[in-house]
């Protein structure tokens, strides 16, 4: 299996949000058109978070200059982040998806979405360590980044032989400053490390690559100028322990049910041919009597003592 990745260089991003618009355009996702229809966020960021119609969101985070990091004592810095599906190498969402609507694409490693198979259980939303999966407005079908696999497969893509502009996801194709790129994961990682070296040389001491080792690796590789938290990216994302436990529950339940049925079947077989004699109670003598044989099986005194 080839591993592909989307590369995002936050130091080159100019915050035009062309990628966000291109994502909506390619995936035919509507936007609210009313005046102030989106809740104001106090920055260029809009909407506040991913939602049923937004698979890719550019985050705008304003923070004080960090003298320890960049040497600048005054002023503000902008962290422009990209929030979308991280396409984990080992995706928790696909692990808990009961219907197979989410799966790992064997040709690219991205998390494929088969919307028609989604049953709207929302388990993926709870399992994702980044809180990415959202649902269309009626809540029945998942809406998350597909890495434009439909587009790439029809444009053939780098892994199948490029034929023009459709060989990359819509967001990558539209990015004017070249902050986004698409290609083999190893190549994207090489590119990211080179860029981090450049940034460090320019004085961004906390510049880093994100997505190489987090959660055993992601298929979105970030070049970050500042600390990951300023981009809304957790430093050490973890898949909840219950994701693994939920995975174990299914075979365990099957096993427990099978063992119970086997035990009951054994009980039934050993009980075959069993016939019980009718019993009668004489409340005057306090005797329990076997009706067939007339034998007194038990006598209980008025004080409740057995004789």
């Amino acid at each position: 299996m080839a591993d592909f990745a989307i590369y995002f260089d936050s130091s080159k991003c100019v915050g035009c949000k062309g990628c966000q618009a291109a994502c909506k355009n390619w995936n035919l996702l509507p936007s609210p058109l009313g005046l102030n229809a989106n809740e104001p966020t106090g920055s260029y960021q809009s909407p506040r978070d991913l939602n049923g119609d937004t698979r890719l969101l550019m985050r705008f985070e304003e923070h004080d200059a960090d003298a320890e990091d960049t040497g600048r004592k005054w002023g503000i810095e902008w962290s422009i982040g990209r929030r979308s599906c991280m396409h984990c190498i080992d995706p928790a969402c696909a692990a808990v998806c009961p219907s197979g609507a989410l799966s790992v694409d064997p040709d690219t490693g991205f998390v494929r979405v088969r919307e028609q198979d989604c049953i709207g259980c929302h388990y993926c939303s709870g399992a994702c360590p980044f809180g990415v999966p959202h649902y269309h407005r009626d809540g029945t079908k998942i809406n998350k980044c597909t890495a434009c696999l439909d587009r790439i497969e029809n444009g053939r893509g780098p892994h199948l032989g490029d034929i023009g502009q459709f060989n990359v996801p819509a967001c990558v194709h539209t990015c004017p400053p070249g902050a986004l790129a698409y290609g083999e994961r190893d190549e994207m990682l090489r590119k990211a490390h080179q860029r981090v070296e450049v940034l460090k040389a320019k004085g961004f001491q906390k510049a880093s690559v994100y997505g190489e080792n987090e959660l055993s690796g992601l298929h979105v590789i970030y070049v970050l100028k500042y600390e990951s938290e300023t981009y809304g990216l957790p430093k050490d994302p973890q898949v909840g322990a219950l994701v693994g436990a939920v995975d174990v529950m299914k075979p365990l339940t099957g096993l427990a049910a099978a063992a119970t049925v086997a035990g009951l079947a054994a009980s039934f077989l050993t009980g075959m041919g069993y016939k019980r004699h009718e019993l009668r109670y004489d409340q005057k003598t306090h005797e329990t009597i076997d009706v067939q044989t007339g034998e007194v099986l038990q006598t209980v005194s008025t004080t409740g003592e057995k004789e």
């Binding site: 049953i119 709870g126 939920v246 529950m249 119970t260 050993t270 109670y281 409340q283």
Partner: protein, 221 residues
């Protein structure tokens, strides 16, 4: 003429039967979400319908016993008293002999029991606790946010595992598939009465008390 003891009221039987039927339908509809190969067998729309039916059935599963408890609080108290009754020597012996008895009813004999057997207190008690767990975790799954979804899902799966084990055993015994338990199905799915002979066999202490008092005794051909 055979003597019968009235054991379960019409309301108790109706509550039990509606609860059981909704539980079985909940298990069937739930399996289409729980077992991926089953989900793949039918179109997503059908699974969606089952998920919605699962919710409606979940409401029935929750509300029917609740209404019944509100209508008959004394019945609830009576049930609680029986389930929390102090164990005597016969109760302990019953539990000790349970597995050998299940695998050899011809040679192992059980001691007399009170209105609710000690085994029933454990097994039915577990069914009640697990049903409550399913209701609470089901509500969390339906109404809770994504942060509690995985906890709720795990608890729901755990509850289902327990219900599968205790539910299968309950069906086996309650429906009278197990040979010594023949005719017990009529207790909840019939007229709620138990014959003198069956009562003496299953709940000896209770049967004698009832036969002595004569209050709940009826005679039938």
């Amino acid at each position: 003429m055979t003597r019968y003891i009235k054991r379960h009221s019409l309301q108790a039987r109706l509550t039990h039967d509606i609860f059981v039927i909704s539980c079985i339908l909940l298990a069937i509809t739930g399996l289409f979400v729980f077992v991926a190969p089953l989900t793949a067998l039918v179109p997503a729309e059908a699974v969606f319908v089952m998920r919605m039916a699962h919710r409606v059935l979940g409401v029935i599963f929750t509300v029917v016993p609740l209404i019944s408890a509100i209508i008959a609080p004394r019945g609830v108290l009576h049930m609680l008293k029986n389930y929390t009754a102090k164990w005597d020597k016969d109760d302990v012996t019953f539990i000790k002999r349970f597995v050998p008895y299940m695998l050899g009813p011809k040679r192992v004999h059980m001691p007399d029991q009170h209105e609710v057997k000690s085994g029933q207190r454990i097994a039915d008690g577990m069914l009640i606790v697990l049903s409550l767990l399913m209701i609470v975790s089901g509500l969390m799954l339906m109404l809770g946010g994504s942060s509690i979804k995985m906890v709720a899902l795990f608890l729901h799966d755990l509850g289902f595992l327990g219900l599968a084990v205790f539910g299968l055993a309950h069906i086996y015994l309650g429906l009278g598939v197990f040979q010594p338990y023949r005719r017990t199905a009529r207790l909840m799915f019939g007229d709620g009465t138990v014959s003198e002979s069956d009562a003496l066999y299953h709940w000896g202490h209770w049967a004698r008390e009832e036969l002595e008092s004569g209050k709940n005794i009826i005679e039938k051909e």
